[in-house]
């Protein structure tokens, strides 16, 4: 996750409060998506950015997860996401993101 966005997430968390925020990812790969989830929950694992050592514990999901998909207007989802849903490794992405969420998120 780039350093500028880490700072944005940190600032927005201070402004709105951890319990009111949800991070939604759109990553194409499981590993990168998991890394982003880890960054907003347990801190930057590379220790390079503003979230290094900062455990925000935010709720974090991938847009492909059923829990999120079920809340979106089906027509909108179909139009905006279904194409990528067909080509991405959905199970692997969900597995990776949920692993970090279950481990480090303080909210759901």
């Amino acid at each position: 996750m780039d350093l500028e966005n880490q700072q944005r997430v940190k600032d927005l968390t201070e402004k709105h409060g951890k319990e009111n925020l949800v991070v939604i990812l759109g990553g194409a790969e499981a590993e990168a998506s998991g890394l982003a989830c880890e960054t907003v929950t347990n801190g930057d694992p590379t220790f390079a950015g503003p979230l290094a050592g900062v455990q925000l514990g935010l709720a974090c999901y991938h847009i492909l997860e059923p829990k999120i998909k079920d809340e979106v207007d089906p027509e909108v989802y179909d139009e905006q996401v279904s194409m990528m849903e067909m080509v991405l490794d959905v199970d692997e992405i969900i597995d990776e993101v949920s692993t970090y969420r279950e481990k480090y998120s303080q909210f759901s």
Binding site: M1, D2, N5, R8, V9, L12, H16, N20, L21, V22, V23, I24, L25, G26, G27, A28, E29, A32, S33, A36, V40, L58, I63, L64, K67, I68, E71, V72, D73, V76, Y77, E79, Q80, V81, M84, L88, S108
Partner: protein
């Protein structure tokens, strides 16, 4: 679970881009407070 929440969107140029997620989240009655499209690679 999204209703009434404030949402940060981290889209991916090679996956689902920020604006596409933005449309979805708005349809779920949540407030988007930041949208970006990263290149994760």
């Amino acid at each position: 679970m999204l209703e009434g929440k404030k949402v940060i969107i981290l889209g991916d140029r090679d996956g689902v881009p920020g604006p596409a997620i933005d449309e979805c989240i708005k349809s779920a009655d949540a407030e988007v407070v930041f949208t970006t499209t990263e290149c994760f690679v």
